[in-house]
Amino acid sequence: MGEALYEKSLLVLRKLLQDGDLTVSEVVQSYLTRVRTVETRVGSFIELAEEEALLQGAKTLDERRSRGEGDISHHPLYGLPVGMKDNIAVRGMRMTNASRMLEHYRSPYDATVTTRLREAEGIIMGKLNMDEFAMGSSTETSALQTTRNPWHTDYVPGGSSGGSAAAVAAGEVAFAFGTDSGGSIRQPAAYTGVVGFKPTYGRISRFGVAAFASSFDTVGFLTRDALDAAFILDIFSGFDEKDTTSLPHEPTNVYHTLKDRDPDTFLKGLRIAVPHEFMGEVISPEVKARIEEAFHVLEQAGAHIEYVHFPHMAYAEPAYYILTSAEASSNMSRFDGVRYGYRAKDVEDIETMFKKTRSEGLGWEVKRRILLGTFSLSAGHYEAFYQKAQKVRTLIHEDFARLFADYDVVLGPTTPTAAFKFGERLSDPLKMYESDLLTVIANLAGLPAISVPAGFTSAGLPVGLQIMGPMLGEEEVLGVAHAYQTLTEHHLARPTL
């Protein structure tokens, strides 16, 4: 057989299940064995579903099938093992957000994506580690555990969806949900050699997903390849009346378009913009080399690549940190020790309870962002910081609009360097923020973007190619990613664990 079950792409696994060549029990057993083998080294799961319950659930599906009941073509993820980032509500399971504040919280309800996942008959394997409340770029701010990069366990998996990325890279799940507010799906995907896809803001419901920065937060996926991501997007996209920021559009239909399309015909004449600012001095020579190789592959297939300017690039990160911290400071005010989560002991009055609860329950990075946000929203600083950043957000949006008037997609590296070692950046906030330098712009403008594997550094660490598209341009983004993957084999490499 060669390739183990856990190494197969979602769509290959799905076909084997749909054709009856595999049972759900076999698939779940194979993934459970894989988790048992590698999890002590990877540390992706905050909570793994109970083994007995998983196997019983698989058996129920198999028995129903053997009786000829239930049309599995109506259940597009039938029997496929899925991981959820721990900021997404799954009824009855933990939802810690990797914070002491919610260490013992169990969600009493399902997020909309979880409801749809259950309807699609995917198997929920468990909840995955992350940076505390998604604030961080290495999963090191998790208050609960360490997640390691499956390619080299001395290195971070990236973040904030580090558990999701590591679980997919290590073959512990067939795909994983993540959230991306400034690169939290794409950056860990780049660091762990998997595909990380963030759709247009509002494409997928945020109902039941813990809010970090509400005008930036986007639900997306970490997968083995771009075609998997297209298939999953079609299932989870679409309007949700429970989310006022959900876009009033029908679900996408990208998978069928891509599946039957000849990648060469698609790439011929495609107009690709590469901003000089994405390839500057801050980009490590090895990352730059891999990305230039990727450009060459696309050019060989007939795409037109032109270097352009992105005038406000240097201001994206400062604007991003002001705006997301401001939104976070407001969102985090709900953690007061009254309704759920941690409450400090031995407090006499309510103000002491609020302060002690928050000070004991929240970690350093979260506090720092709450303070920066409160600062930039406070009287005397509001105009100079918060409103200034909102205006720069407009200018970045306009930079993109100008580019997309002439080009189909914008390309560059996902991150300036490959993964870094544990502890290397934790005490230097600006150095840590630098790893999101190239990803925050898509969230400032709400645009769809993807990171796809583009080879390795000499130390054997993965490098990611980033593709950004216009508003609602998921088909362009996934189309270029899929075409690139039919011409390359980087995404087929697997770590040795």
């Binding site: 009254v338 000070s359 303070l371």
Partner: protein, 97 residues
Amino acid sequence: MQVTRDTVKEIADYAMLTLNEQELEHMVRDMQEIVSFVEKLNEVPTDGVEPMIHPVKLMIVMHDDTVQRTEDLDAVLGQAPDRSGSYFQVPQVLGES
């Protein structure tokens, strides 16, 4: 701008956070570094630029005025650190204890 101990203390108070002496010193340093970094925005001319509040046009969703059963009261209250019947219980808010 200079980030002072007093500024950070005041902001922490607004945000219902308490920092001990050591944390306060550390936070002043971190905040100073971040504020100096974000002040880079002052280089950008923004006269006449509209602030962008949200990446997509927001739409107000109107629901039918019907009663829907959503969460189970006990499941929700069961998450509270302290409760009394169907109420959340907290330390005394007003008056002398």
